[in-house]
Symmetry: C2
Subunit: 686 residues, 2 copies
């Protein structure tokens, strides 16, 4: 699943945060809050109702990769199981031209060989508290949107700071139902995270971009980390037991993970904006970056290695978003959306108590018009080095304000996470930064036009390529020491800096803030409107509802089940099937199993379940989510959705849409037989 | 060079046709008309002045590939030498899953083995006649732009028809200097064109997309055809002799070919429109198609084969246009353009005789605004099958009018060329048409928005993928018989057709005509304005000027010369250097020489010149142009320009910009030693 490239998804796609579902759920629909699980519905469909103890155990066993992805604790000694494609960002950062862990895999034969990741932060959700009343009380009804946005951010930052000071836990106020509810999530953080085992990319991503989002699949898309505290493996109370015999056809299963973002609440106007404006633009940007990375990779094998991780993330997003867009381009969807919305608006109009809510839809419409106006204005250049410069410049000024008044990323309670990224020891590649910066400067011209004064500032009289070369030649931000010094030097340090990258970020700072304020104001208008729509839906539809995904922990459920698509597609594949699949594709790249598999073929129990599908409602960000049985034991780990499931951003269907998981039996068997890692298989679940 | 993919270039890029140069030429600048060669200037720079006999001989030895590209006659028996990448469209059409001539090469051991190309048309320029007065006389001064455009087209069609009837020659009225001059070009056509020899793609395009537009190069980018008349090799009076000892450092050389399109006359406003609107959009489209073809190719080796030719053309255009765009994004270029234009406008304003011309620049500005309005309106879907349907539908209605009143493509004098394309026996691939049509429908939504009534017509209630599947499943246009029947059936045949692709083209016909008329009207405004600007320039700058490229025969000249770019870049490479180049890239794809080369390595004279560069002013469409010595003998054949030369669309420079050619010595040596084709090497030049 596709949340891993959080960088891309949030930067390119961020619109409504946490809008709520358009209707009460049907079938296995829903990404449920752990404090509002639809027990009655589960009982009615599957004859099973989770106890509070069950829910607490699963919640506490679940782990979020703050970099984008999900995972779970699988041993008392701190083992964490996630996807290879969630881990690959770290694998890539730990790799060099000589040791390519991403391609060739890795195994720590003992704990002393486990390697520390440069900048991972893992979050374990500890508690959820409803703070809606306090947030709303702080936002006076007569404030202009921009002031309202500031007031809301301030109270959220205050709540978070208080909570952090009181509990020492990471504390995030999460906006749910597009602004209808605010919940305080408290997390225990793990920042000493070490790599334990990863298979080869050829096995984890067998079938490559061609098989991505397809099914049947044969991917060992898993990696093991271990969390440490005080230099020792952390002691974990809640971890999942293994059930290699689980996930039989039609079994009820649960998915506990962090779906990144859905937009099921969007109104017709917002959908149109996405379909006709925002998503086509995102597709253009993704294709642009895909070609750029491909071209960069042509320079040689080392460039290919350096670009591979980004390239995968981009291709993955491009394929995902094209699937979503196809869903929106379906006149059938548009018609049903319209019918649903018209019916709700009619009910609102007919009920005098609800009448004050009626304006919400027009407010959303106006907000979309404003989005169009501002669409091409952002000035942030999306390269690692420029992002560092921009963060340093903004941070210096923000730190002069009280935490509650700062831009949200710079609040005290987020400082540790921010610095971890800013001062990461992960490698920066000069040649890669060069081509990316040249492209971003060119993109700025495309967006704002060559006569724009901001463009003139950015180019400083040169063409994009020459200007990028100049900046990269002269900047000193590649040095971690320089970054640390600037991060510590405050406003004066930034003002004195002769670094051209810092100077560039400074020259664009005013425009950055202008655009940021405008976007804040638009989002506040939307939040207020969606909160009204949510109220209307609670009033009209009643009972149980789940909010749109917000990259926070949710529980989905469904059945292990095949489907019909040009014939029957089976619920399961097997380890032996991987060899068949290779043969069917004449063992041409990307259908080449690694040597380790070929060597072990005869020993391998070929009928071991490998990948399987279920009807649970998931989306990007759920990558690495544990699939759990009624008994709360692990039966698999989510790694993808089939191509038909991509519409889940906007609507759920269980006809042919499926979540795709690695079966835990396949993981254990391959650890033992292929990877010479029985000690890990033995540790898992204990 | 990059004219070959004429489909892409014209469809995506067509704007001003044949605008004139902004200033009189300097250094080796200029793509000169054969009837207005700058003899004085040549004499001054190189001490050489071509005679009329010399010019006639070179002109008559030059050949245009109507599909996009240049070539020359190289034997009395009809041999034609062009680039492999100009031929590849034909190689691809002649190939099957079993015989991949494009990849593996081809050799006819005798004339009986030569294979007829399905739809090639070769043009030999016979004469040029100035018809400006007659064209302008037909366009009354008080006509509205749309009426003026019609009147102009009508008189051009009439002139062409008269000439065709009188001479039997293909007759095209060419718009030069953006509308400042009209010349009648008469061509002898060859339509029985047979494949004689082609090397492997691995040799022709050695270094692939990575080396494309780079230098030093090592590409045998050549292919031999033979033209036939009445089933026998055509007798050719004017063909080029071979000079394998030519093209020494600093030698004067000439390039005689068909540069596709330059836009050096564009005003500042038109440049801005290109930089900020048109070209970024084209880049988005190219990247979109590049990714689409890549994804299609993932399905298997046969899909890879089917997509390779299109993919190469797209990548080539993408790389070319990104180079042009970078030139426009240079603030230095914008500043010098402005200075030049301001100076000219000042002179025009100061001279009462020129005052009536002063409005031209504002007229261009207004035309750019109109271009923006209409930019996203075109409804033609760019797939082979839809183009066929659209052509059939339009032709039926156009044929009911007198030739002079028809849309220009449907005039009588163009009928033979049109039918050759429409009724080509080249293969159509169902799966490829399917993905391309789905993408084009999605693109129509991106362009016009999902609520547009034209989009609703096109989709007929389905999403783009489903709709494309329906159309492809149900159409009968894959059958040549059906196409012939419809082409012959006129309006009634089209009206009665139940073919859904025909019905789709019919439902979009009205909108097609509306957009076409609007574009005609904009172009007429531009033509009138550029004709005034040309007049001003002739008046102010005086003497010798060359018009922008128009895919008609031009003569360029310059010196064989290396350049400085991170050290000295030599003027020549050698056959032996190809093996070195392979070694430097560790013989990884795309740096893998074919087996034939490896087998012949020991016999090959390794110091034979292979590729070389010169300062001649060329651009896409010059691909395959002969490079000719003072003596009128062939020393090489153009196949590329270096990356620095791509700004040639907008301005010429000889500092590091170079045209790249295959040396004829390398061609002859490889024919003899590698390809077992001494009989062809012996025939060449005789």
């Amino acid at each position: 699943m596709k949340r891993r490239k959080l960088y891309w998804l949030t930067t390119l796609l961020a619109t409504v945060s946490g809008a709520s579902a358009i209707r009460t759920s049907t079938a296995d629909e829903g990404m449920w809050l752990f404090n509002a699980v639809p027990k009655t519905q589960m009982k009615a469909t599957y004859g099973f109702e989770p106890t509070q103890e069950w829910l607490d155990h699963v919640m506490l066993s679940s782990v979020r990769f703050n970099s984008g992805g999900s995972a779970s604790f699988v041993s008392s000694n701190g083992l964490v199981l996630t996807n290879h494609h969630v881990a690959s960002d770290t694998l890539y950062k730990l790799s060099t031209a000589e040791n390519n862990y991403n391609e060739n895999g890795f195994l720590a034969k003992s704990q002393s060989e486990e390697i520390k990741a440069p900048d991972l932060e893992l979050n374990q959700l500890i508690s959820i508290e409803d703070v809606t009343a306090r947030v709303n009380a702080a936002v006076k009804a007569d404030l202009a949107p921009q002031e309202a946005a500031k007031a809301r951010q301030a109270v959220m930052a205050t709540i978070e700071k208080e909570s952090l000071d009181k509990t020492g836990l990471r504390s995030d106020v999460v906006t749910l139902f597009g602004g209808g509810r605010y919940h305080l999530y408290r997390y225990k953080k793990y920042t000493d995270v070490r790599l334990v085992w990863a298979p080869e990319a050829a096995s984890a991503f067998f079938g490559g971009d061609a098989d991505n989002f397809e099914y049947p699949r044969y991917c060992l898309d898993v990696t093991l980390f271990r969390v440490y505290e005080n230099g020792k493996p952390a002691k974990i109370d809640h971890f999942l037991k293994m059930d290699p015999n689980g996930a039989k056809e039609n079994d009820l299963v649960f998915v506990s993970g962090n779906p990144g973002r859905t937009r099921r609440i969007l109104t017709q106007d917002a959908i149109e904006y996405q379909r006709d404006v925002a998503m086509p633009r995102t597709m253009n940007t993704l294709r642009r970056k895909e070609i750029l990375m491909q071209q960069y990779g042509l320079a040689g094998p080392e460039q290919k290695r350096r670009s591979k991780d980004d390239l995968f993330g981009i291709q993955n997003s491009r394929k995902a978003i094209s699937g979503m867009l196809l869903g929106l381009q379906d006149p059938g969807f548009t018609a049903s959306k319209k019918a649903e919305e018209d019916a709700l608006r009619k009910k609102v109009a007919a009920d005098p108590k609800l009448a004050p809510l009626a304006a919400a839809w027009d407010q959303i419409k106006q907000a979309q018009e404003k989005r169009k106006e501002w669409l091409k204005k952002p000035v942030s250049m999306r390269t690692k080095l420029y992002s560092i410069a921009e963060t340093l410049v903004l941070m210096a000024k923000e730190d002069a304000k009280p935490s509650a008044e700062r831009l949200r990323e710079y609040r005290d309670s987020n400082r540790e996470s921010l610095l971890q990224e800013l001062l990461s020891e992960a490698p920066l590649y000069e040649d890669l930064e060069r081509v990316q910066l040249a492209d971003e400067l060119a993109r700025l011209i495309d967006d704002r036009g060559g006569n724009d004064p901001i463009v003139a500032l950015a180019l400083a009289g040169k063409n994009p390529k020459e200007r990028a070369n100049q900046l990269i030649d002269q900047t000193d931000l590649f040095s971690l020491e320089t970054r640390k010094k600037l991060a510590a030097g405050g406003l004066a340090g930034i003002a004195d800096s002769k670094d051209p990258m810092i100077q560039l970020a400074r020259s664009l700072e005013a425009e950055y803030r202008k655009v940021h304020e405008a976007m804040d104001s638009i989002e506040e208008q939307e939040r207020q409107a969606y909160s009204k729509i949510t109220e209307a839906k609670f009033a009209v539809g009643g009972d149980s509802m789940y909010p749109d995904a917000t990259f926070t922990l949710r529980l989905s459920y469904g059945a292990v089940r095949g489907y019909e698509s040009n014939g029957s597609v089976p619920a399961w594949t097997t380890l032996g099937g991987a060899f068949e699949h290779e043969k069917q594709h004449m063992a041409e790249d990307p259908w080449v199993l690694p040597t380790s598999w070929k060597k072990s073929k005869d020993k391998l129990k070929s009928n071991t379940p490998f990948n399987f599908v279920c009807t649970a409602d998931i989306i990007g960000g759920n990558s690495g989510s544990p699939v759990v049985s009624r008994d709360g034991a692990m039966v698999g780990i989510i790694f993808d959705g089939n191509i038909e499931s991509l519409t889940a951003d906007f609507y759920y269907t269980d006809k042919v849409s499926r979540a795709v998981a690695v079966h835990i039996a396949g993981v254990l068997e391959s650890l033992r037989t292929i990877y010479d890692a029985s000690h890990l298989a033995d540790e898992m679940g204990k």
